[in-house]
């Protein structure tokens, strides 16, 4: 090491390595101490869940970790199809909870996820900003091009359901934006930037101060089924099973409070 300048240039690299080293060892510490402190379920699992499950799964996570303090649950949300793609590309998921059966089927067919169980149902509702400035009362109103309407992209689960509903009702929604997931639809209505959108009943319930929901008859007919399954290569299948059992058992309460239907 007789070249001080070369060494000086390496300093940031060494620092970075040292820092990441610290970070990962710290993470290891938490995991191991967490695992030691509980005699019931323990371990760390990564749960990939549809965006619409966010509020319920946060509650479930808190409740379950209270019951089994040794269990660390990492939750990641997104559009079901996108999560399925990520899992297929090797994302470290242990449990997958989808908002539609199509995305789950992709993974079960590919042999990545074993069996799956439906644990909740949901249906679409028209969402409008509090006070309903666009005076929307029924589904057909969303065909009015004068209103600013946002919906889900056709590739998303909510978008697929919406297409079926449009066909059934014989209308074409005049959408100003086709968002990649249901939460961004909700957000744009909650901000007051859109007059109406189509989201799940559960989404409407998640922002009671900002939005109102309007039921329409076709929605009941095209409800969504939410399946949950364990990724076959999950490093800790026992911990993953604890989570799935909780969601299909005690966790039902949290789901139904948020507006989900029974499986």
């Amino acid at each position: 090491m007789s070249r001080p300048r070369g060494v000086a240039r390496l300093v940031p690299v060494v620092l970075a390595l040292a820092l990441t080293g610290c970070a990962s060892s710290a993470a290891d510490d938490t995991t191991s101490s967490g695992g030691a402190s509980s005699s019931s379920a323990s371990g760390e699992i990564n749960v990939f869940a549809a965006a619409s499950l966010k509020e319920s799964f946060e509650t479930i996570k808190t409740d379950l970790q209270k019951r089994d303090p040794g269990l660390t649950i990492n939750l990641q949300y997104g559009a079901s199809g996108q999560l399925a793609t990520q899992i297929q590309q090797g994302a470290p998921a242990d449990v997958f909870a989808s908002a539609d059966e199509t995305s789950m089927k992709t993974l079960t067919d590919a042999g990545i996820v074993g069996a799956s169980t439906v644990f909740a149902t949901n249906r679409l509702q028209i969402v409008v900003p509090k006070g309903n400035p666009g005076k929307v009362t029924k589904l057909a109103d969303l065909a009015d091009p004068k209103l600013t309407v946002v919906t889900c992209a056709e590739a998303a689960a909510c978008g697929k359901t919406q297409k079926k509903i449009e066909a059934k009702a014989g209308i074409t929604i005049s959408s100003d934006s086709q968002e990649p997931d249901v939460k961004s639809v909700l957000q744009k209505v909650a901000m007051g930037e859109a007059d109406a959108g189509l989201v799940y009943v559960t989404d409407v319930k998640s922002q009671p101060d900002k939005v109102e929901g309007i039921d329409f008859p076709e929605a009941a007919e095209f409800g969504n089924q939410y399946p949950i399954g364990i990724v076959k290569q999950a490093p800790d299948p026992a911990a993953a099973k604890v989570f799935v059992d909780y969601v299909t058992g005690e966790g039902q309460q949290a789901l139904q409070t948020r507006g989900f239907g029974k499986p």
């Binding site: 070369g6 600013t148 946002v150 590739a155 934006s177 086709q178 901000m191 930037e193």
Partner: protein, 268 residues
């Protein structure tokens, strides 16, 4: 200078070569991965599928419009930063770089808070004239401008500050007014920097995603640019995503190479 650089080029210390090679690999491997993983048999079908040409066209048009806006407002601001003694100039320079460090999604949210229907300014536009900016073509250009403007300003500002301005003084002494001096002396002098800045801004606008999908949304034919299309494609067609990514990459590279030799010496 050039000779000196040439000599060191022959005996590069290993300590530099190894990490440099790592950097090259780091850039090349993911791109090569795209090429290797591409579903070539589906390539033509996918590119020809409905909406793709539309999205690419929209991207090219909006990126070009964005660049024009950047030139129009960016060059004057760069001049103000470099050539005046305006108080608060340093702060202004920091402000210019903010979009560079801000996550683009935050840029989109910021645009909402200013120009959305409920925004600080947007509220008046909507209440008085019924004008609503989000979800429009204009919203795409505004979102792209927000993230691309710093590239132009920093490039031009840098060039102006490194040129001393003697020619400008001479021009003034010879009786030219300030506007003539700017147009006839300053602008030609910073030409290459303007070109380089414009190309960087254009490329940044072409790849812009976060601010666009946040503020302009995604509607095929109106606001669905190529990067947004790539993102929605990811929901249910990973292979398709690769094809579209390659298409966008190819178009960007071809345009940059075509421009580089002719107008943009600053980049080569």
């Amino acid at each position: 200078m050039r000779d000196a650089a040439g000599t060191t080029g022959r005996r590069v210390p290993l300590l530099l070569v190894v990490p440099a090679a790592a950097a090259v690999l780091f850039l090349l491997v993911p791109l090569a991965g795209l090429l290797i993983k591409a579903p070539w048999p589906r390539f033509v079908d996918k590119i020809a599928s409905p909406g793709v040409g539309q999205a690419l066209g929209l991207s090219l048009v909006t990126a070009t419009e964005t660049t024009l806006v950047c030139l129009l407002i960016g060059i004057p601001l760069a001049w103000v930063l470099a050539r005046t003694r305006l108080p608060g100039r340093r702060l202004l320079r920091v402000l210019v770089t903010v979009p560079l460090i801000l996550p683009p999604v935050v840029g989109g949210v910021a645009l909402y808070s200013a120009l959305g229907r409920q925004g600080v300014l947007g509220r008046w536009l909507y209440d008085w004239w019924g004008v609503s900016i989000p979800f429009t073509h204009l919203a795409v250009v505004l979102a792209q401008t927000f993230v691309a403007l710093p590239f132009l300003i920093l490039s031009v500002d840098g060039a102006l500050r490194s040129s001393r301005g003697e020619l400008e003084e001479a021009s003034a002494t010879l009786g030219a007014d300030r506007w003539t001096t700017f147009r006839r002396v300053t602008l030609p002098q910073i030409g290459p920097a303007v070109g380089a800045g414009a190309v960087l801004a254009w490329a940044r606008a072409l790849g812009e995603f976060g601010a666009t999908i946040t503020f302009a949304g995604s509607l095929p034919g109106r606001t669905e640019t190529m990067p947004v299309r790539v993102y929605t494609e990811l929901i249910d067609d990973y292979d398709g995503t690769i094809v579209l990514s390659l298409l966008l990459l190819a178009v960007a590279v071809i345009v940059l190479i075509a421009l580089r030799g002719r107008w943009v010496q600053g980049l080569s």
